[in-house]
Symmetry: C2
Subunit: 183 residues, 2 copies
């Protein structure tokens, strides 16, 4: 099959394969860790894209190892497809934030329910922010030990996550004042 235009999920898998062969399982883990905070993907997708890319000649499957692990390697065609993809102007971000729908339509909620929901989500965001704050110094230290563009780029995305979650927390803090009629 002529390699149709690569989608961002598949392209990211190719991106990770530049550093060496990985199995589907490994790719799921790597992708979750490296781009999972701003690019949703599922295990199911990864296996499907790998199968499709193998059929298109963008990757090759190696011999099964222990536990049926099948290492995928990027091919020259894969590298070419990736290079073409990354050159493209990235589209704008897509956000789908169900909690904000709940806020918009909160008038249809029994009193107190919105506060409950907000409290739960606030907790989840606080945890994510705390996690980013825990990880940052490690990354900064690693970068000082062995400076590299790859680490700098990873730190750059972490910095986005930090600012994003901080903004969300800030929003949660202003909400009570906004939602209650002034005295």
């Amino acid at each position: 099959m002529p390699p149709r235009q690569l989608n961002a999920t598949a392209a990211s898998l190719l991106g990770f394969l530049h550093d060496g062969p990985l199995t589907g399982w490994d790719l799921v883990a790597v992708a979750q860790q490296r781009i999972g905070n701003f690019w949703t993907l599922t295990q199911s997708q990864v296996y499907r894209e790998l199968t499709a890319m193998a059929a298109a000649g963008l990757v090759t499957v190696g011999e099964p190892e222990r536990r049926d692990r099948k290492p995928y390697s990027i091919t020259d065609a894969g590298r070419a497809a990736f290079a073409e993809w990354i050159e493209r102007e990235p589209g704008r971000e897509q956000i789908r934030f169900p909690l904000l729908l709940t806020v918009v339509f909160a008038g249809h909620l029994p009193p107190g329910r919105l506060d409950e929901i907000l409290a739960a989500h606030r907790g989840a965001h606080a945890a994510r922010l705390a996690d980013y704050r825990r990880v940052r110094p490690e990354l900064v230290a690693a970068l000082e030990r062995t400076p590299s563009d790859a680490l700098r780029h990873e730190l750059a995305t972490l910095e986005f996550g930090l600012r994003y979650e901080s903004a969300v927390m800030d929003w949660f803090e202003t909400l009570p004042g906004l939602l209650r009629p002034k005295a």
Copy 2:
């Protein structure tokens, strides 16, 4: 057909229909304006969900008016389905930010290209932030004139947008320092 679990897009349309009948065209406009900043949807989807909801008895279609405008009204079954939907715990937000993929894989980009891309996106975000800042005082004024929960909820989502875009701009400003090796 038994009305299967409502999806958030369809539910939002029902939400807007609580305030009175609207045509598909109007719903597209209302949705873009009221939730478009944190819930992507297309015209195509709106017409499809309306057709499906009409078949499920959640809305009724009125007589075509001028230009074939067909007003949709919410039914009691629709109100019940909506009430059930809004009671549910909203899922976590989904973000898909292609620009961050570009940053992660920027090592595969020719020198200078990343800066170009970043500059373009930064401009777009600056424009959105400026727009939020333009709208806010209007909303605040409207709220002071005629206080209402609906307006407060709308302001709450705008405040999220403001904080989000501010965080993004802040990130853009720290990027140059992060990406270049220190002197």
